[in-house]
Symmetry: C2
């Protein structure tokens, strides 16, 4: 039986690392405005469940966006859209 993954945002068989794919998906939501300025990003656990990845992968994705200056994290609070205030 053939299995397709067309409904998945991330593809474990793609050459790009999973965390890069998750980051790209989140980045798209930021750039489209779906995640507005100062809006909270999905939590690590929410990303785990939404994308069906490990927490490690969720954290890497957020870390990449943080490195890009797109989001900032407040420890024990969450991660928000925008440059570090």
């Amino acid at each position: 039986m053939q299995v397709l993954y067309v409904d998945l945002v991330v593809d474990p068989y793609a050459p790009e690392p999973l965390y890069v794919q998750v980051a790209a998906s989140l980045r798209a939501k930021i750039e489209s405005g779906e995640l507005a300025h100062l809006a909270p990003l999905p939590s690590e656990k929410a990303i785990e469940q939404e994308y069906e990845v490990s927490r490690d992968t969720a954290r890497r994705a957020i870390g990449q966006l943080r490195d890009e200056g797109l989001v900032f994290t407040i420890p024990q609070r969450g991660t928000y859209v925008g440059p570090r205030p």
Copy 2:
């Protein structure tokens, strides 16, 4: 019986995270010249054994020095002292 850890560079009971302590130790070796410009840092595995920490902790320590611009990493090669060339 009282146990002291005076011989350990890192102290699991200290308030600072282990990876910060490992990074501080490596930073001191760089600043003292023990690790000269372009010299290779100990590999992740070597750091694991030297400091008796997990690879996760070793990687975090190296990552911190990289964030500080003190070292740069060449994938599948190693990490070297100096700014990214």
